[in-house]
């Protein structure tokens, strides 16, 4: 499997920006692992955190830069940046198993958000590694449903190395 790379992409908040980016990825044969979009502190600009699996990351960045609505691209790695993800997970848990599942979730700072007759749903936030570790542990109980937000990431230091806008 190709290694995952995290791109933090500052874009103009204009209609169709997401379509432009996904169309570009489709056309150039780049694979998106996850994509999260949201507003930034600056009005008119949105931040996309894109996790890509692309052997030619340089090409991905250059092609993204060519999109008129893309303002800045920063490549993030897990050492110099903070990465988080949120996950909602529904696990099979009969009354008998409930406390065991809850205990496991607590270790991972999971919060129960819904409890049913034979299931329990909780929310967990954390690094992708932490979420995956938890998933492995609770999988034996029976995974009924799973939603992940996609990764969001931010550079640790404000004086970040900036990629020169080349588009």
């Amino acid at each position: 499997m190709t290694e995952q790379q995290v791109l933090s992409v500052l874009v103009e908040d204009k209609p169709g920006v997401l379509a432009r980016i996904s169309s570009l990825f489709a056309r150039r044969g780049f694979n998106i692992h996850s994509l999260a979009v949201g507003p930034t502190a600056e009005p008119g600009l949105s931040r996309m955190t894109i996790v890509v699996e692309a052997p030619k990351l340089e090409q991905v960045k250059k092609q993204l830069h060519k999109l008129v609505n893309v303002v800045k691209i920063t490549e993030l790695d897990d050492r110099s940046s903070i990465e988080r993800e949120i996950m909602l997970v529904r696990v099979r848990a009969t009354a008998k198993q409930r406390s065991e599942v809850l205990q496991l979730a607590t270790v991972f700072k999971g919060t129960p958000v819904d409890v049913g007759v034979d299931s329990i749903t909780f929310m967990v936030t954390g690094t992708p590694t932490k979420l995956n570790d938890l998933l492995e542990l609770i999988r034996p109980f029976g995974l009924m449903d799973l939603v992940k937000s996609g990764r969001i990431a931010m550079r640790r230091e404000p004086k970040a190395r900036k990629l020169r806008a080349v588009g």
Binding site: E12, G16, E58, V166, G167
Partner: protein, 564 residues
Amino acid sequence: MITGAEVLIKALEYQEVDTAFGIPGGAILPAYDPLLDAGFRHILARHEQGAGHMAEGYAWATGKVGVAIATSGPGATNLVTPLADALMDSVPMVAITGQVPTYAVGNDAFQEAHTTGITMPATKHNYFVTHVEEIAQTIAEAFHLASTGRPGPVLVDIPKDVLNDRVRWRDPEPVALPGYKPTVSPHPRRIREAIRLIENAERPILYVGGGIIKAEAGTALTAFTDLTNMPVITTLMGRGAVSDHHPNVLGMPGMHGLYAATTAIQKADLLVAIGVRFDDRVTGDPDAFAPFAKVIHADIDPAEIGKVRVPEVPIVGDARLILEALIEVWADKPRPKLEKWWTTIKNWQERYPLHFDQQPDGTLKPQYVISRLRDQAHPEAVLVSGVGQHQMWASQYWRFDHPRQWINSGGLGTMGFAVPAAIGAKAGKPDHQVIAVDGDGCFQMTFQELITAAYEQIPIKVALFNNAAHGMVRQWQRLFYNERFSGSDLGRQLPDYPKLAESLGCAGLQATRAEDVDDVVSTMLSIDDRPVVAEFVVDRDEMVFPMVPAGGSNDIVLNGPEDL
């Protein structure tokens, strides 16, 4: 207060548009009313694809932005081919499309298509205008994007109600796009690195393409060629970048390139690549391409650098500024003799020239027709080509003196390009002789635009190579499909081209024998009061050589049928 439609026309005038090509329809109707009083010419095409290629031909010939106008739905979708063509060949173009009224958008209204969605991957950028206040600024941005950086097509989609809304005219503000800042000035360190490689090279090659034409860098390139004595190889897109009469020019490389050009790249120790993108028709198998060469790659588009070949020296910038910087740093270094290199190259040129065999009473050879046409045409003539065998022969045999004398569909390979593009070129350069070289397969795709040419009094000349086949397809079927000519036979008798031409309002001529060619060519060139179609009935089995089979190594060039 004026209408959005009036704003649109005024915004086009503000951009100093002198010609637009289009077809009206429901959604764009409001714009066609003020168009009647516009300060520029509107040329009514017969098909939106024609309007699009006319805008391209205009842009190729003049260097200015070509403008195409169409209505919503089918009008817009018919523009997709020219847009994709313009994107591939970096042709500056602005397309304006009408859209169904805002309240109807998304309801599958009559003649509704998601134009911005459909054209997203076929444009450099596109716009959907939602408010009448945005029209003037959007048009200004569209022209800016189309004509700067790496040029390309930009589409502006405007709903009918926005065209009907009223607003006060305000001059557009200077364009400021936060995500669009093309690098035009090259980095001085890169320039010095490049010069160091060039002075130390023993077998250098200047490999230049469309970027030279787009950047108006021909003069600088010629000067740099004279200083460095490097052999110059002009790609299909870069033909005319340096005059073909210049002794250093080896011509076109690649799949149907001249042997000396293709081989010189293979043996070079340095490629100075400017405004080229290492296209597969040039490189053949990229892993076997120029195996001994270090590469300096200069381009306005950073994404082209390293896309196919990782260069030793990357230079991002405008080709003219790069060449001027190279010239400045080169200063008064002595002119390299490169004697051994030139001896080797001259030897290739002598041993493997282009060749064909025209028997006086034999079937007419297309290369013979092209040669005779070249010799009689005006030296400043603009040559426009379709796509296929005739295109390759035209590029191989013509001698271009300047940039913008050669217009064709290079990257997308759009059959049917020649006739409308020639009309656009002639509209942009009415004082130039404009000759379209076309094949019968291409011609049959867009010849209805000759009605446009006749009606609008745009006297282009069409040299029609009739081999009654999709010639390049036939060539491949002969070489790679056991001569099973599937779907490539067009029929010798249909249509009667001279009669067809006459019925379209053009003069119609025909030559079937070698001895007729000169007369037909001179008649064709002398008719200036209407378009002319001269049909040359040529040998359908003639093949384009040299040839490097697709994906093969450029080390193996077939020079003629004798090499098969």
